[in-house]
Amino acid sequence: MADRQQPGCLSCGVKGLCGGRGLLTLKDGAWTNNPLAVQVLGICSALAVTNRLESSLVMGAALIFVCVGSNLFVSLLRKRTPHRIRMITEVAIIATFVILFDQFLKAFYWDMSKQLGPYVGLIITNCIIMGRAEAFALQNPPILSIVDGVANGLGYAVALAIIGFFRELLGAGEVLGYAVLGSGWYTPNQLMILAPGAFFVFGVVIAIFNALKGPDT
């Protein structure tokens, strides 16, 4: 296990890696291995909820919350979890956080809960969360796992916000519900609100992201 060679975050004086590793984890999750633009994971929800910026932001927040929470607890329990039932453990933890968020939305943010429909609940099956729990939190100390959760959640949330921004702007001429492109000269392109619009914008986002990031080294 990686953390046997590199003990906890506060005591990693051996190679002086702690600060570096934290930042590296952050950069890796949010940029180098961006879950949406590079790994192309979790795109079902990304395509479904991005017809408005507001719903994209809430979905991003949900993912950050769940990813941080599940990474933290999977990491805390990693040495006690029997290997055979580790995946069901991860799913139980993830599902708990997702349902907590869903209940919160249903109670205090009813309209948004209606708009997002089943997609909040479907975060349970989101590959990003499960992937981070399995690939990162199981092998790393809690604090670093939180960093990884924030990084991946942010990577997803920012990409979602960009897609949502352009879809709402071009599809409805609005940003967060406020009319931006005047009704006089701009005819909203309905296609952007519908599912195909998500594919177009998503494709462009992936292309630009990878052009900026440059080839893998």
Partner: protein, 208 residues
């Protein structure tokens, strides 16, 4: 054996902790969720009855508008929601009934509002449906619901029932256009609506 016991107790404890957490969260949010559901129902009744209210009205405001304008009356096993605004001197302006039934993927629930003659449709809303988004889900869209307004619940010869007609050929006073690609949903909606319409007519006939 020892390993198995550990695995079992680990799973049991984890399951219990998660369940307790969720139960706590659920009972904490229950009153808020119930209030939201009630406001949603009221919003639908008001929309079907065409009671005017501001689009951004809060749940409390909706309840207040509902209480001043709408009267509940039960009749033959159905609850009638009657719109009698305070300035109408007790005259009923419209009445709505709840309808529900099986859709294609899940239950369809909504309200049907009729004019005081109990023959002309004033409005229809669907407040709960799980039809295919973009196809059957279109029953909740404004264009589909608007079609019902002003339609009659019987044809010229007095035959009871509303018809959802495919192919964009709706022409008579009790026909509306079906949704392309959502035949199953439209058929089911037609059945559900006609069921409630028949009940209304039965009650009307009892009154003579």
């Amino acid at each position: 054996m020892k390993g198995n016991l550990y695995t079992l107790s680990y799973a049991a404890i984890l399951g219990t902790v998660c369940a307790l957490l969720l139960t706590a969260a659920s009972s904490f949010t229950a009153p808020y969720r119930a209030a939201n559901a009630e406001a949603e129902e009221i919003l639908n009744i008001l929309t079907a009855l065409k009671v005017s209210f501001q689009a951004d009205a809060s749940p409390e405001q909706l309840v207040e508008i509902f209480n001043t304008n709408v009267r509940r009356r039960s009749r033959g096993g159905q609850t009638l929601y009657e719109y009698c605004p305070p300035d109408a001197e007790g005259k009923t302006q419209a009445a709505a009934v709840r309808f529900s039934g099986p859709g294609l993927w899940g239950p369809i629930n909504g309200f049907l509002a009729l004019e005081p003659d109990m023959r002309t449709i004033r409005g229809v809303t669907f407040y709960e449906q799980e039809e295919t988004p973009g196809l059957g889900g279109e029953i909740a869209s404004v264009w589909f619901r608007r079609q019902f307004e002003g339609k009659r619940i019987a044809d010229e010869t007095g035959k009871i029932g509303i018809i959802i007609k495919p192919g964009g050929k709706a022409s008579t006073i009790n026909e509306v256009d079906a949704i392309t690609g959502a035949t199953m949903t439209c058929d089911k909606v037609e059945v559900i609506l006609n069921e409630v319409i028949n009940k209304i007519v039965e009650e009307r006939n009892k009154d003579g």
